[in-house]
Symmetry: C2
Subunit: 217 residues, 2 copies
Amino acid sequence: MTTLYVSPGACSLGAIVTLKALGIPHQLVRVALRQPGSLIYEINPLGRVPTLQLDNGDIITENAAILPFLGDLKPEAKLFAPIGSLQRARIQEWIGFANSDLHPAFRPVTRPELFVDQPEAQQQVRKKGLERLHTLLGHVERRLPVGQWLVGENFTIADAYIGVFLGWLPRADIDAESKYPAIHAYQKRYISHPAVQAALAAETQLRNNDSAQKLSA
Amino acid sequence: MTTLYVSPGACSLGAIVTLKALGIPHQLVRVALRQPGSLIYEINPLGRVPTLQLDNGDIITENAAILPFLGDLKPEAKLFAPIGSLQRARIQEWIGFANSDLHPAFRPVTRPELFVDQPEAQQQVRKKGLERLHTLLGHVERRLPVGQWLVGENFTIADAYIGVFLGWLPRADIDAESKYPAIHAYQKRYISHPAVQAALAAETQLRNNDSAQKLSA
């Protein structure tokens, strides 16, 4: 069975959402991050989630590879778009932006200790990091289509992915409701999408039951 | 004509290499980065290169979108791989890794002032950034196939892209020859690939001739 290695609360949520939206039978395996000896290092030398293991044992890492791969398995579900289409490029564009910019922009804000030791310097790293994060969020806010998904009418792998990070705003103490109304409205829609609901429920189950780290669906 | 907005020395090199490798007629337009009023802001609100403009005016941003889009235009050139293939996922995996990790890892090393003001704190940001960069380079070093390109026998868009960052090691004062022999050997091969040669020649021409910022090929 297709196995996805995940950690609740991490960016692996986007891949869980994608599996749920596509209705692909799968098993979720919860792994510890940044802990020597964690199972994930046996599967992915970089110790990252999500990591996908196919029926035949082949392993695919990186959201930017996993989401397009999954989306292409079921073109009829329209989570991705046909080769050569501008829509497909737009979906890849949002995934690239989230992957290279939005996701890494949280790092100085939520983990400034990775950059510098001294507490006052960490405060500054956090402050400058927040400025950059606001620049990126402002860009997203201006480009979010009202009442639609990111790229047209269909919920795509771009939504599955970017919704994860837009849901992290509270971690950076950013109040989306007052500051980014479009993001706030989008995020409410994202959270109520059936695939996101199913993915969040699976994460809760994985969190609550430490003895059963595997979950099949 | 297909137009690519670039800045010599930036990561837009990977997209130039891809255009050259595919033999797609194109025009390169040199733009200034991080300068208010630069032409690039009219094309791409984030002010980034590469930005691709198609014949019909459509604009595609992000390497992670541009390279797959271009690769899919000429499947017979084998710069990308068929939908659903593991090879395609591997190519996306390397692009994702470079996009989310390798590229951003240079930032604290080469521009620590983006993170903190105080000179001593900047030194520490640089030092910690270097440690992380070495971790990522170690991963690349261990996974580089000897005498082959990144994903099998063909030069792909993954090579076009990752070769750019492996060429940035001198910017971080890292001596690849002594520390990363596989990367060093790969990089020599990359630099001598005809498409890379053509792309570097185009960048030199764009650099040398300030009055002619456009270059057709």
